[in-house]
Symmetry: C2
Subunit: 388 residues, 2 copies
C-alpha cells in the first residue's frame, strides 16, 4: 500500500499542504479510454475507524466543494462546507462514524486534475487532462478506500453532484455500499442544467486570460470569465423566494438608485462578491471538467435506457431527499430515481423537504433533513450491527 | 412638426435606412435629470389611421425586440417579431387598426441610444449616454405620437419589457390610453431577474473588447461577452419543460459523447447559435442600458410604496395576461398588478394561459392568448365606437 504523503499543492493558498494519498502505478482506466498511471487523492477523515472497519461513511462533495466537509478549512479559513451535518454529536456523528471525504478526480484541491502537473510534460495538464465522468470520480474514491484498507462503506452520502456520485457508487460497487443517501440530485443532468453549465464554460473560454486552457503556464488566471460563470450558477442554487427574502430590491449602501452601472442593488453586490471570492479558491479548468462530468451523467443511458435496470438485485438501503423549492434538481427528478428503485424492488425511503431555500438547502440548517437523515442512519446502523 | 426622414444607421446592417423621426429641440427631460435636446425615433407603422384618429395601437417591444413588429424585418431578413399577432386579419388587425411600433429609447435600431452619435463629441455616446428608465422610454413614445398627430391610443400592448411600458403608459398618460394589454410582465423587476441581468452586464463588461464602453471608437465589438449574456438570458426565456421537449439530452450531429468541450448536446449548440446570432443584431451598450431600465422599474416605489396608488382614478380598460410556465415573470407578479388594479376600482381582465412554453410564449402561437386578446380588443373597440 503506498504511503500517505504530504504534498505541496499549487493554487490559491500555496503555503498549505493538503493531506494526500499518492497512488502510483494504479492504472486508473477512465470512461473515455484514457489511463491515469499515477493518481494523487487529497482527502480528509473525521472520527475513528472501528476494529471491524464497518463504520465508514464516505461523504461526496458537490461541484465546487472540497474534502473539508467538517472542521476547519485551511484554504478558505472558514468552517468545512458540511459542518452543520458532520461532526461530534451531529447527524453524521464523528464520535460514532469514520467519515472520509476526498476532493474529486478533476478537482483543484490536491487531487489529480487539470491544474496538477502532467508527468508527460512537466507542466500543468490544462486541456490535456482527459475528460472525466461521475463514474471516474467514483473509481478514484474506490482506490482511496482500497488504500485505506476499507472494504465496504456503511454509508455513502452527498448532495447535488455528490448525490450523483452516491447513485453511481450503488451501481458501480453495490457490494461495497450498505446504505446510500442521495440529496437534491438526479439520475441524469437535465437540458436546462446542461445549458447553464454551457454558459459558464463559454464565459470562461471567452476570457482571453484563459489562453486555450494554458493560463497557468503563463501565470495568468481567467478571473473575469470564472467569476461570471460562478455568478450565473449561483442564481440557480437559490430559489426566487430566497433571493426575494434575502435581498428583494434593497439598495446597497445608498439611499437611491445611482442611474449607473455600479451595484445599486444588494443582490448585485452579493453576486459580484460570490464571483470574485470564488476565483480565489477554484481553478477555471477544473470548473470545465467537473461541470462536463455532471452533464454527461445519465444512468439510464448506460443501462439500455431503463433506469431501474441499473439497480436490479441491489441490497443497498437507499434514502432519497429533495427540496420543494429546488428548481435545479426538482423533486420530479428525485421521484424518477425512487420509482426506478421501487421497480427494482430496492429498499428506499423518500422525502421532499418543504423549504423555500432552493437547491442550496442541502448545505443549510434544515431541521426536517437532519431528522430524516438521523432516523435513516440510526435504522441502518441497527441493521448493520453498529448499535442503535 | 419636424419631418420624418430617412437616416443611415450604423450597425449590423449599415446599408439599411430605418424609418426615423428626427425630433430636434424637443428637450426630453429624463428621470435621471439629464436632458436630451434632440431625439431620433426609429419606428414602423402598419395599417391606416382613420379619420377620427381613434384606431391607433402602440405595440411596445421587449428587451431585444425592435420596431419591426410585423411584415419583413430588413435587418434580420426574417418576419417581424410579432407577425403571429400583428397583420391583416390577425388579432391586432392592420385592416382595422393603425399600428405603431418604435425602437425604444436607448435601443440600437435607429432610435437615440448609446451607439448613436453624441452631438457634443461627434462620437458614439457609449457610457456617456444617460441611464434611462421605462418611464423615459414611454416619454419618447409620447413624443412620437405628438409628432404623428395622434392624441390618444385605442390600445397600448406589449409583452415582457413591453408589458412594463404598457403599465407605465397607463400611469404616465392615463388620458391617452383607452385600453392597455400587459403580457408576461410585472410591476417591478424581481431580485432574481436583476441578478440574471447583472450576470449579462458583467459578461459584457468583462470582455476586453468592450473597452470601457468605447469599442465603437476602435472598430471593436465585445462579441464574446455579449454572446454569453444572451445565452444566460435565453435560458430564462424558456421553461425547463420546453427545453426538455425541444432538446432533452439529444446529441448534436454525433452518435455518442465526444469526451470534450465541443457542443455535444443539441441544447449547447442551440445556445451557442443564439449567442453568436444575437451579436450580429444587437449593440452591447444598448444591452446594458435597456436591462438597467428594467431593473429600475418599480411602480410602487414611485407611489409611496402602494401599487394601487399608481392607478387611482384610471379609466383605462386593462387586460393582464401571464403564462403558467413563465418563471421569469411568474403569474404571481401579474396577480399583484391585478390586485392593485382591483383595489383602484379599475376595469381589468386577467388570464393565466396554460402553456409549457415559458416566458417566450408571448411571441409564439398560443391560441388561448389570441382568443383572449381578440375578445378584449373587440369589446374595447365596441366601447370606443370602432364597431364590433
Amino acid at each position: 500500500m503506498p504511503a500517505t504523503s504530504d504534498r505541496k499543492t499549487p493554487g490559491a493558498n500555496p503555503g498549505y499542504r493538503h493531506r494526500c494519498a499518492r497512488l502510483d502505478g494504479v492504472g486508473l482506466t477512465l470512461d473515455c479510454g484514457a489511463v491515469l498511471d499515477d493518481v494523487t487523492i487529497a482527502y480528509e477523515t473525521y472520527g475513528r475507524l472501528n476494529e471491524a472497519r464497518s463504520n465508514a461513511i464516505l461523504v461526496c462533495h458537490a461541484l465546487t466543494g472540497d474534502q473539508y466537509a467538517s472542521g476547519f478549512n485551511p484554504v478558505t479559513g472558514r468552517a468545512g462546507w458540511w459542518s452543520t451535518m458532520v461532526g461530534p454529536g451531529k447527524v453524521i456523528d464523528t464520535d460514532r462514524y469514520f467519515v472520509i471525504c476526498q476532493n474529486v478526480l478533476g478537482g483543484c484541491m490536491g487531487t489529480t486534475g487539470p491544474k496538477e502537473i502532467n508527468p508527460a510534460t512537466g507542466k500543468p495538464y490544462g486541456l490535456d487532462f482527459p475528460v472525466i465522468t461521475i463514474a471516474d470520480m467514483v473509481r478514484a474514491q474506490a482506490l482511496l478506500l482500497d488504500h485505506l484498507g476499507i472494504g465496504d462503506l456503511f454509508c455513502v452520502i452527498g448532495g447535488s453532484m455528490g448525490g450523483m456520485q452516491v447513485l453511481q457508487w450503488a451501481i458501480s460497487y453495490p457490494e461495497r455500499v450498505f446504505s446510500a443517501v442521495s440529496i437534491a440530485a438526479a439520475a441524469r443532468h437535465s437540458a436546462q442544467n446542461i445549458a447553464f453549465h454551457e454558459v459558464g464554460r463559454q464565459a470562461i473560454m471567452a476570457d482571453p486570460q484563459w489562453m486555450k486552457g494554458r493560463y497557468l503556464d503563463h501565470g495568468k488566471v481567467p478571473r473575469a470569465g470564472l467569476a461570471v460563470a460562478r455568478m450565473a450558477a449561483h442564481i440557480t442554487y437559490m430559489s426566487e423566494a430566497a433571493l426575494h427574502r434575502k435581498f428583494g430590491r434593497a439598495l446597497q449602501d445608498r439611499e437611491r438608485i445611482s442611474y449607473g452601472f455600479d451595484a445599486d442593488f444588494q443582490v448585485e453586490s452579493y453576486l459580484r462578491y460570490q464571483g470574485s471570492n470564488f476565483v480565489e479558491r477554484f481553478d477555471a479548468n477544473s470548473y470545465l471538467y467537473v461541470t462536463r462530468a455532471m452533464d454527461y451523467f445519465d444512468i439510464a443511458a448506460a443501462h439500455d435506457g431503463v433506469l431501474a435496470n441499473a439497480f436490479i438485485g441491489t441490497r443497498t438501503r437507499f434514502c432519497i431527499l429533495s427540496f420543494s423549492s429546488d428548481w435545479l434538481f426538482p423533486t420530479a427528478e428525485s421521484r424518477e430515481v425512487v420509482h426506478a428503485l421501487n421497480a427494482a424492488a430496492a429498499n428506499v425511503s423518500f422525502l421532499e423537504v418543504e423549504t423555500d431555500k432552493g437547491h442550496d438547502a442541502f448545505l443549510l440548517d434544515e431541521p426536517e433533513m437532519f431528522e430524516t437523515l438521523s432516523g435513516f442512519l440510526d435504522g441502518s446502523a441497527y441493521q448493520r450491527g453498529l448499535g442503535s
